[in-house]
Symmetry: C2
Subunit: 416 residues, 2 copies
C-alpha cells in the first residue's frame, strides 16, 4: 500500500510511488499497474453497464472490490460476475466496510448526495452518476462536504462531454470562432421510452422516487452540455407536461425558453414520447452558425463579423458571405469508460477529470429552474429560489403515487 494525497492506493503487481515527480515509473504503468479499488453502489441499469465495461477491461486502472444493491437479484448478479467483490445490501454498509478507495454511486437520484457525503467523510473518492441530486439545496451540502476534503477526487458521470462533436464545439466557442453568441436551440426529442420502461422500477418517474421525469433522468447530459458550452442562462420560462405521453406523474414533455447574460436566447425541447425524435443543437454567433446533428458538426463561417456588416452594408437584404464547413473532429467518443479512466487517473496521478463533481449543480440548477417555472407559471431568474423549489417539490412528493416494485434491469447499451 502507498499513499498519495493521504489516500491508500492498492498496487496489484508491485509497489510504485505515483505522482508527477515520478514520470518514468508512471510510464511503466502497464507493467506496474496500480488499481483504484471501486465500490459500486447500485447494480441497476447504469451500475450493471459500468460493471460490464470494467469487466471487459475498458478501465484497466479500476477494479470492483465491492458492490451494493437492495435487490437480491442484483446482489446475486454481482456475486456471480464480480467474484472478488464484497457484496452489501446498503450503500452505507459498503462505504463503512467495503475496503474500497472510491465509490461509484448509481442509485436513484435522491440518494446521490447523502451517499456521497458519507463517502467523503469516510475518506473515499466519489464518482456520482448524473444528476448530482434532485434539488440544489441537497447538492450544496454534498459540495460543501467535498470542499472539506480537497484531497479527495469528486467526479460526475457526464460521459457526453467525451463526445468529439461537443468537445470540438466547445473548443470553437471558447476559442471565439463563433463570435458573440446570439442563440442556441436544442431539439433533443430522441429520448424515446415505452410504458414498459416506466413500469420497470418502483422509484422511476415518481416525485418521491425520482424527483422528476425527462429533465431528471434523461436530460442531465444535455443540460450539463448546454451550460458547459453556452454558460448558464439568467432567465428561464418553461412548459412541462406531466404524464402527457405515458402513465406517469412526472413530466415527459418540456419546452423551455432561456435568456443568457449577454442577451442571447435559447430554446430547449425534450420528450420521451416521440419517435423517431431529433437531436439537433444549433448555436449561432456573430461569426456564424454551428449545428450538431447526429455525429456531425457543421459550421457556416462568416467572412466578416455580422455585427460590423449589419451597420456598414449598403444593401438591404445582403448577408455576409459565409463558407460551409464540415468540421473535422478527432472522431473519439469514449463515453463512460473514459469518465471512469479519467477519475482513476485523477486519483492516481492528479490528471484532469472529465467533469468535476462540483459542476453537477449547474445543470441541476437549470433543470430545477425549468420545473419551478412550469410549476409557478412564471419566468424565473437564476440562481433560483432554492427553498421555494424544495417546498414545492415536497408538496409533489406528499401526493406521489405508489408504484409496485417490478425488479427489472434494462440494458442501457446505446441509450445514454
Amino acid at each position: 500500500m502507498k499513499r498519495r494525497h493521504g489516500r491508500k492506493i492498492r498496487v496489484k503487481y508491485g509497489i510504485i510511488k505515483f505522482g508527477y515527480e515520478c514520470k518514468l515509473k508512471c510510464e511503466r504503468k502497464r507493467f506496474w499497474m496500480a488499481k483504484v479499488r471501486l465500490g459500486l453502489i447500485g447494480v441497476g441499469n447504469m451500475g450493471t453497464g459500468h460493471a460490464e465495461n470494467i469487466l471487459a477491461g475498458k478501465c484497466p486502472e479500476i477494479e470492483i472490490t465491492a458492490a451494493a444493491d437492495r435487490r437480491e437479484s442484483r446482489r446475486e448478479w454481482a456475486a456471480a460476475h464480480l467474484p472478488s467483490a464484497a457484496i452489501f445490501h446498503e450503500g452505507e454498509e459498503l462505504i463503512a466496510n467495503g475496503k474500497v478507495d472510491a465509490v461509484l454511486i448509481a442509485v436513484p437520484h435522491y440518494q446521490h448526495p447523502p451517499l456521497a457525503i458519507s463517502a467523503f467523510r469516510k475518506g473515499l473518492h466519489v464518482m456520482c452518476e448524473k444528476p448530482a441530486g434532485v434539488y440544489t439545496l441537497q447538492v450544496r451540502e454534498m459540495m460543501a462536504e467535498a470542499d472539506r476534503h480537497p484531497e479527495l477526487t469528486f467526479g460526475m458521470m457526464f460521459n457526453q462531454r467525451t463526445n468529439c462533436v461537443y468537445r470540438k464545439l466547445k473548443e470553437m466557442i471558447d476559442g471565439g470562432e463563433l463570435g458573440e453568441m446570439k442563440r442556441m436551440n436544442w431539439l433533443i426529442t430522441d429520448w424515446y421510452r415505452t410504458q414498459f420502461y416506466y413500469d420497470s422500477g418502483a422509484w422511476r418517474a415518481t416525485w418521491a422516487g425520482e424527483g422528476g421525469g425527462v429533465l431528471l433522468n434523461q436530460c442531465p447530459h444535455q443540460l450539463d452540455l448546454l451550460q458547459w458550452l453556452c454558460g448558464l442562462p439568467v432567465k428561464v420560462q418553461a412548459h412541462c407536461h406531466e404524464g402527457k405521453w405515458h402513465d406517469i406523474e412526472v413530466e415527459d414533455d418540456v419546452t423551455a425558453y432561456m435568456e443568457f447574460e449577454n442577451g442571447a436566447t435559447g430554446v430547449f425541447v425534450t420528450t420521451t414520447g416521440e419517435a423517431p425524435g431529433t437531436n439537433r443543437l444549433e448555436v449561432t454567433g456573430s461569426m456564424g452558425k454551428a449545428v450538431c446533428e447526429g455525429d456531425t458538426l457543421t459550421f457556416w463561417r462568416n467572412q466578416v463579423d455580422e455585427r460590423e456588416w449589419r451597420v456598414t452594408c449598403r444593401e438591404g437584404f445582403r448577408k455576409p458571405e459565409n463558407e460551409k464547413i464540415a468540421v473535422e473532429t478527432d472522431g473519439q467518443n469514449p463515453q463512460h469508460p473514459a469518465v471512469l479512466n479519467a477519475f482513476a487517473a485523477h486519483i492516481l496521478r492528479g490528471e484532469p477529470l472529465i467533469a468535476d463533481g462540483r459542476e453537477g449543480i449547474r445543470g441541476l440548477m437549470l433543470s430545477n429552474a425549468m420545473h419551478l417555472s412550469a410549476w409557478t407559471g412564471k419566468e424565473v431568474t437564476l440562481p433560483i429560489d432554492e427553498k421555494l423549489f424544495y417546498d414545492l417539490l415536497k408538496e409533489k412528493c406528499a401526493t406521489s403515487r405508489h408504484k409496485e416494485e417490478k425488479d427489472v434491469t434494462i440494458s442501457t447499451e446505446g441509450s445514454y
Copy 2:
C-alpha cells in the same frame, strides 16, 4: 365589354363569353385573351416586383391599367414602365377613377383594410399583400365588407403556399400520413436585414408606420403556413425583443411557444439579425417526423403508430421501426405570379384561389397573440382579446419614433 358575376371584363383581342358553361372557348384563351385590368396601389419594393413580373409576361391574364404611389419617384418609374397605366398619387383616387377591374394593394400594412374596403365598395376585386392588416379588429371590418360583396374576388398574397415542399407537407398532414400531430418546431431565422434596410423607408419598423417588426413584415408567410399546415394554436406565450439587433423600435427577435387544441406543442423562432440563419420546419406525429429544410422534405415513416407501440412494446428503449424517405414533390414553386394568375382565373372563370383573403386574419391573429403575450408578459389564449391588443398598440403608436423619409426602393428578388 362583357359581364361575369356582374363584373366588367375587358377583352383584348376580341369578344368572348367567359364562364363554366363555355369551356371550349375558354380553352382557346391564348387566342381570345381576356385580361383583368389591374390597379397597382403602391409601387414600392413589392409593388415594383409584381409590376416587373407582369411586364415580363408571367401573368398573361393581367394588365396594369393604373398605378398609385405617394412618392414622385415611384410615379415616374410607373409612368416610364407602365405606359398604358393611369398614374395616381393616392390609392383612393385610383379606386375611384382608375378604370380597373381589380386592385393589388402593396402599401404599408395599416392601409390594407381601408383600401380594400373602398375597393369592395367600388365593386373591385382585391388582391391584398400580406399581412391582411396590423390588428385583427381592423381586418374584421375588411372581411365584413368582403362578405357584403360575395361576387367579388378577394385574395391574399400568400405566395409561399405555392412552394411544392409546403404543399406536399400539407397534403401529407391532411391525408393522415403523419398520424396525430405531437409537435411543430419552426426555426425561421433567415430573414436577415441590414440597418440600411430599416433606414430605407420612414414607415418601416415603426409602431405607427408598420405596426410591428419581423412578425408583421417578414413572417406573415410562415405564420400563415403554420396555421394552414397545423391549425391555429389555442395558447401562445412569446418573447419579443424590440430593437435587439437594429436601431428600430419594433421587434427583430421572437421566440414563441404554442399549444394546439389536441395538446400538441410548438415553437416558432424568428429574427432579422442572424446570418446565415436557418429555415427548418419539423412536424412530428404519431406516424413519424417530417422536416422541411431548404428545398427538401424528408419524412421518417413509422411502421406502426407510436401511440400503439408505446403501450404494447415489451422493451424499454425500443422505438417503432421507421423508414427515412426523401419525399418527392412536383418541384414547382411559382410564387407571386401563381398567386396573381389564380386571382385572375378566379375572377375570369371561378377557378380556385391560392389563398382566400378571409384567411388572412388567421396568421395575423397568431402574430397579434405573440405581440400581446410579449407585451403583457403572460400566456394568451386564442382568439385573443382584440380590443386589449388594439389599445396597447395605440399606446405604442403614441410614442412611435419619427423617421425621415429616404425614398429608397429595394429589389425583393430572392427574398420573400
